[in-house]
């Protein structure tokens, strides 16, 4: 099945213990599509300014990412700057310049309206709704959001939640959206709002899937070196959604496997700034890392 992602393409300036980059390729749709395209044909709908480097478009194109839905308009590309604390416990946003992104109206090209799998990255929920009005018969729709929309556009967000299969958020977002402070309870409340499944992205602590019955917990890979976590959540989403699209199935077994796939992809994203490591990842790399992840889990045998 084909994947369509609607989100941002951006230039990020990021500072971590390992160094600093300026105006480096970033954005949710960028990270997502590089990861998703490892598994399935992936098309991006986004907006970029006239300052966007052709070489950066090439970096996506060479990996097979479809860019027919990328509108280039007059003005500057969305820019974000942030700084992470030494151990990545906190992130400080230094600046957010929406630029051309502030007038973004997603237009799905005619030949992409029949996309089967849709990922609505973190944009205004009213725009997420507009996307869903343009696609004709999606088989699976997943949604990301953030506290800014939970606080400022809750009605729109609730409306779009009734139309999606899966919500992907972090702990804080799940608490804010559900109004409860326990993750299990929060996920249950969110499922009552519409989506059949909820994935909680927990960064270096892994991810939880709430679909059928008990939550499924997948730990992150124990890495020796983390350079920059920017984009890890979108990379996780890409590995997850791309995997499902390739499988063409969305049952519990596939969702659990997709959790692993997303985890493996994200583990590469954080090893360098921007997409520098991610754009080189192959399925063979994922297999290597899968062995590494599998070695860290036990069978939980205990003699009680």
């Amino acid at each position: 099945m084909k994947v369509l992602v609607v989100g941002s393409m951006a230039y990020d300036s990021v500072e971590t213990w390992a160094g600093k980059v300026e105006h480096a390729l970033g954005g949710s749709a960028t990270f997502f599509s590089l990861s998703s395209s490892l598994f399935a044909s992936t098309e991006v709908v986004a907006v970029i300014g006239d300052d966007f480097r052709a070489t950066d478009l090439d970096r996506l194109q060479v990996k097979g990412v479809g860019l027919d839905g990328v509108q280039q308009v007059a003005g500057k590309t969305f820019r974000w700057g942030g700084r992470y604390s030494r151990y990545f416990e906190t992130r400080e946003t230094l600046f957010t310049e929406l630029n051309v992104f502030s007038d973004f109206k997603p237009q799905i090209p005619e030949h992409l309206k029949n996309s089967e799998v849709v990922f609505l990255a973190n944009i205004h929920p009213a725009l997420q709704l507009e996307v869903l009005n343009q696609v004709t018969a999606p088989k699976f729709v997943a949604l990301d959001t953030m506290n800014f929309w939970i606080e400022g556009a809750l009605d729109d967000l609730k409306a779009v939640l009734t139309k999606v299969d899966l919500l992907m958020v972090n702990d804080e977002e799940a608490f804010a959206l559900s109004g409860v402070g326990n993750l299990v309870e929060a996920a249950e409340k969110i499922v009552q709002m519409g989506p059949k499944a909820v994935v909680i992205k927990r960064g270096e602590h892994g991810a939880w899937l709430f679909a059928e019955g008990a939550p499924t917990v997948v730990p992150a890979v124990a890495l020796r070196r983390v350079v920059d976590p920017t984009g890890a959540g979108d990379t996780f989403a890409g590995g997850f959604i791309g995997y499902l699209a390739r499988a063409g199935s969305f049952d519990q077994t596939c969702l659990e496997q997709a959790m692993v796939s997303g985890t493996l992809a994200a583990s590469y994203c954080v090893e360098d700034f921007s997409v520098d490591r991610l754009e080189q990842v192959t399925l063979d790399d994922l297999r290597t890392r899968h062995a590494q992840l599998a070695a860290t889990v036990t069978d939980l045998v205990v003699d009680l």
Copy 2:
């Protein structure tokens, strides 16, 4: 094998989203021994003031915890007060009154000097060393510590680290002690300081064991209701060390099983204030929760 724990017995005043308790039974040796005694004969060495309630000693005694090493002296018992943020991301210490604990000199009763398994809870590393000078031939020694000693008594801490088999700390403590900001690297550096194994306690995110080869990651139980995390780390340690003592073996297999045992015990500790839930836990409860934990992990199958 018999377990000896040297640590604190305290009265805690704790505030969480769920409510508030004052002067409730707490302390590292208290939580540890209630947990450890589920598996093995456990003796406490600690100091309490003349305000310590006889009924609180009874609560330990009725669970079979040995109190011959508990000195009751004139003065007030160690008191600690703290407040947790809504989702337990942060803890604010409201007061610390060392009281009789400030003059604590651990005296191991003669008949306990042959204890085979020793847990040195979080006290001044010079006192931890004094304990080790009093025990005759321990088979396994584990150590807890905190940033206060890492910053203020590093030489003593380094000396005691050369004499122990296992260090149990959290992320921050591992970073501070090793001077590196990656958990895998930090654990490797700590192993070079003496202990054969390092356990990183990660609270609601579970725990990591570094012994042979790759780290072993055990997730925490996904709980529907967390009331008070105070003592969870010591309860984990008790379930871990008690399990090893009962097994009488300290190989990789036993260490991994002990990780699970500690995880299950800690999951009960946090369900109520103080030891209110922990003191009622049975091995049957642990079996129930083991099934619950096992249901949350996947076999990590993925088709790459």
